[in-house]
Symmetry: C2
Subunit: 387 residues, 2 copies
């Protein structure tokens, strides 16, 4: 009797879960495993945010909020854009969502008709193409490489655009590559998309996490764009499941309808924690952490280069290194298996990020402390010297 919808044949699991499962088995057997596969900060949620949530919870009055989020929080996010980026965004255009995933679902749900094509850079965050497919859209991969810092250009766009194309999704900083788009580049992409009657979605989920360059937002140049953001990464709130999205005004009412049915409302305790996200005490903690991430990156990158991992472009954001490992192994999957078995180091093979030479690439997350990162590099070096 089992009959599964056709879309599920195209929807892949996170392949890294197999590595994670093996890591847990090895840990349970007493092996020391260093986790470089995990896409979440190792830091706890900043204390002022935890305190705000705990205070709110005291009375137990944890009721639904409006579907688009607490007015206070939408206003706080609006002030954040003003204070940090000098950009004025009306709170009415800010949608609080259950994680950035929730924002992506709402955006794709109101934008995608069956058969509509979305251009997605490959490599890229795997869920994007599966969410497009979930709403009966067609994800179309834009293969990108180090020559354009793994970011799409108007030339890529011109080549791939068809009458069925609905729009383009980009990420800055990007997962898995850690590269950023310049504002001029985003603007050029938006012009190219808009000239063809399409929509640009910009994933700024890793916004605050950049090193040696300033954080930026597409919104300081563009209004007619969907911007997805998150409290998970820079703000250290992964498990709370909270994000936000800024949308053109004309879409707000439809997004509200969809949010009511998809989610009723975002998590109330998470929203109260997030109200403390923009306080000076919190931002100070977050900046300290950003510096720690920068130091980790600066320690790990040369150590891996030394071993033979290649980085044709310098990653400047998020907490990922996307290494070309083709000098070290025929297949990144085999290499990842070898690293977990022999070095006790868990990494994510390229397969999770698309079909653009995944066998050549490995994602390494620096979401563990510097000492462990150095140890991981040493262990990897020892194993690979026996190649």
């Amino acid at each position: 009797m089992t009959r599964i919808a056709r879309r599920m044949a195209d929807i892949q699991p996170f392949h890294v879960m197999e590595i994670l499962k093996r890591a847990h088995q090895l840990s349970a057997a007493g092996r020391d495993i260093i986790h470089l596969e995990v896409g979440e900060p190792d830091f706890p949620t900043p204390q002022p945010m935890v305190d705000a949530a705990r205070r709110f919870l005291e009375g137990g009055h944890v009721h639904y909020t409006p579907a688009l989020g607490l007015t206070d929080l939408r206003e706080a996010i609006s002030r954040f854009y003003h204070d940090r980026f000098g950009t004025d965004i009306a709170p009415e255009r800010i949608i609080v969502t259950p994680g950035a995933s929730g924002g992506l679902m709402l955006a794709l749900g109101v934008l995608t008709d069956p058969g509509d094509e979305w251009l997605l850079p490959d490599p890229g965050y795997p869920s994007n193409r599966h969410l497009v497919r979930s709403f009966e859209g067609r994800p179309v991969a834009l293969p990108v490489d180090a020559t354009t810092r793994f970011q799409p250009t108007p030339a890529h766009l011109a080549q791939a655009w068809t009458p069925r194309t609905r729009g383009l999704m980009v990420a800055s900083p990007a997962n898995p590559t850690g590269t950023l788009l310049e504002l001029d580049e985003i603007e050029a992409l938006q012009q190219a998309v808009s000239a063809r009657g399409g929509v640009l979605i910009v994933d700024e989920i890793y916004q605050g996490l950049c090193y040696g360059v300033e954080a930026r937002t597409a919104l300081s140049r563009l209004d007619d764009v969907f911007v997805v953001n998150s409290f998970s990464k820079y703000f250290g709130m992964t498990g709370w499941r909270l994000g936000w999205m800024v949308v053109p005004e004309a879409y707000v009412r439809d997004i509200e309808k969809l949010a009511q049915h998809f989610f009723i409302s975002p998590s109330t305790p998470a929203q109260h924690a997030a109200l403390a996200a923009f306080e000076p005490a919190t931002l100070e903690i977050l900046e300290t952490r950003r510096h720690a991430f920068a130091e980790r990156r600066n320690a790990l990158l040369p150590a891996l280069r030394e071993i033979g991992f290649r980085f044709a472009t310098e990653p400047q954001g998020a907490f990922y290194l996307y290494a070309d490992v083709s000098d070290l192994a025929d297949s990144s999957e085999t290499l990842a298996q070898r690293l977990i078995e022999e070095a006790g180091v868990a990494t994510t093979p390229g397969l999770d990020f698309g079909n653009n030479a995944p066998e050549k690439h490995l994602r390494i997350a620096y979401t563990t402390d510097e000492g462990r990162l150095v140890e991981a590099a040493e262990r990897i070096a020892r194993v690979l010297k026996h190649l």
Copy 2:
């Protein structure tokens, strides 16, 4: 440039939001408003659950959990089925979700191909048809009335089934009618659905909230069924956004894939609160509340009958009364407007629950204390005597 997906033309907002907006305006102007429109318990989250969450939050380590939820919580839910209903459900079949909404999305996402028809009782919970539409399915209303306690029967099914029908959704206790299905009735529906190669989804979101009858689960009779449940209503956790779903084993893997992309994982603080949901101290609080709901219902039902609200079938569950108001007004919408303006009492007109004689029906939620309910009935009586 605005181009909104076609599905949005079929997706309605919660109409009650207009009443709620007006209620807030009147409150702000100093009027005392009694809220009988709200679909959430007025009680706070039980203290043992709040305490569990606050303890968990102390360290701030709020990370992602597995996509299907914490193993401990899935096991606790499994024990709950055993202890309360004498039913053995493998924890592996239990999916922890971001609210019951999340469960419905996963179920419909893995089951619905474009054009697939789902039979939905009308009146019914409005989001169901919009979620079906979101995945390009076609919601098909089964008009039901007091003669079958607003529940569908195999005869309804036989009449509406087509080669494109994918399955049937039922709710017990049901929103907005508060009626339950007997286990024999659910079994007969499942046989009728299954004989036609379809799937039955049973919404047990209001499971623990029934009065004068025992709580029940379709799972005590059936394995080959999707059962959606929630921590929101009986367990008093609305704003936390947590629910669960029990699915046939053959669907677990696909649901896990979809859950990874839709949600990453359910809220971690909510899951830790829910771990305390089945403790004796919590269940004692919840049973006390259930008795309070029963008393409210017993006070409100005769008071409304006295005024001329008609209830052809006795509601036994949830916290709703679905009244036939056709003796009192030509349109339930006009009546609801009159009640908010003249009596300061907010209710939900039938329009939100479908197209089956909505103008004749009003939903009244007894989610406020008994004294206020009595006062609401008195105020309504005063207004309607001037008809």
